[in-house]
Point group: C2
Chain length 240, copies 2
């Protein structure tokens, strides 16, 4: 792409990012308002917004509902081959985790879940929907589908901490094996709303299906992450 | 979100997707033109395009340059903990891989790469830039940075096949360990152009850094994937 074809908002994106680096704005620090930025860079609000949206798509800044633009913190690392719980890997990296239960219910297994678990449609199933925060930024929402036959009474406990820990400590349930799938997707519907992002915003999906030693269905997690929040990190081979 | 707030283009997205499912359009099959679709669904071209863009963001359809819209094939599976080469896992899943070298050169190690490899800035380094296809759809572009001290003359060979295989069979080089990072990102610049997508389109980034038994830098791969092409798939625990 020659300079002549390089759009104005992308030129502005580069000037804006250079300025942010020079100012040494750090993680979760607030940017000046759009009005102030458009004055500083001698451009219109429309162009400033295009440049900010570009930096957002690149995961360098994020928008906090009605409160302005902020510098994105470094991505959290997650190793699916190690597969430890959220609270564990967040604290291990020096951050503060928090979980908020948005709803929980005893419901009936829908057809799509029946296909995955091998259990009949209509089988009772616990469904918990939670939002999880790192350093008070909401990074993901998560649907947990848990087999109540394995852990009756689970829903009467608080689900604001680790469900894995509860399953282990109170029901002696440790998953024998899990299948994990991870891919980018567009956040929409309930998940987009609960993360305060526009419908269709880029996100990352993690699907984690766990079975017990008898090969019976224990739990399914479906996590919807902001696109800029997580990186998958795997070490293969000998340790050095 | 109540029905009243549900935007028209999202309602159309649902009708469009229901119709596609009923018609049983399959992988890589072409959709009718935008003009035909807007007539069929009694709506404007603008709304049809919004609905199509939504399905594209969800990874259900993709656009092929100037040739129209197509049904996205199922995602390719990649297991970073297993970490086998592209040609291997593509063929294993019953698809046809192809690789096209876009450029290759002997250059000097830039500062960012020096930081990663521990080798001095200016050290000679091979740089290969390739586009890779599955069933003739270009899914990713890849930068390979290879240490020429380990494999002198590599660039005089064809790089349209597996570089891993060349390193192994011709130079007896097998990586001792690799660090792999994967995260969503916005495709831009050369990578967006080479994949024929708009600047800022959602994508998936894979970074694979390999060292030999002496702990010396062997190779860095930086892969830029279309957002709808790949899923990370990991099995943890016992095999059932």
């Amino acid at each position: 792409m020659s300079r002549a074809e390089y759009p104005v908002y992308l030129q502005l994106r580069d000037r804006l990012w250079t300025w942010i680096e020079q100012e040494q704005l750090c993680s979760q620090q607030k940017l000046p308002s759009e009005r102030e930025l458009s004055e500083r860079f001698g451009t219109t609000r429309v162009t400033i917004r295009q440049a900010l949206s570009q930096l957002e798509a690149e995961g360098l800044i994020f928008r906090s509902n009605r409160r302005g633009w902020y510098i994105t913190p470094e991505r959290l690392r997650y190793d699916p081959s190690r597969d430890i719980g959220f609270n564990h890997y967040v604290t291990e990296q020096g951050f503060s985790p928090r979980t908020e239960t948005l709803f929980k219910e005893l419901t009936e297994m829908p057809p799509w879940l029946s296909e995955i678990t091998g259990l009949p449609v209509g089988t009772p199933i616990y469904h918990v929907f939670r939002r999880r925060y790192v350093n008070e930024r909401g990074l993901l929402v998560e649907h947990n589908f848990i087999n109540p036959a394995k852990c009756p009474g689970l829903l009467s406990e608080s689900t604001d901490l680790s469900i894995w820990k509860m399953l282990k400590e109170q029901y002696d349930l440790v998953p024998d094996h899990r299948d994990i799938e991870i891919y980018p997707l567009a956040l929409k519907g309930l998940e987009a709303e609960s993360l305060n992002v526009n419908q269709g915003t880029a996100g990352l999906y993690i699907h984690r299906l766990s079975f017990d030693q008898e090969g019976e269905f224990l739990e399914l997690d479906r996590e919807y992450w902001l696109h800029d929040a997580l990186k998958i990190s795997v070490h293969v081979g000998s340790r050095h």
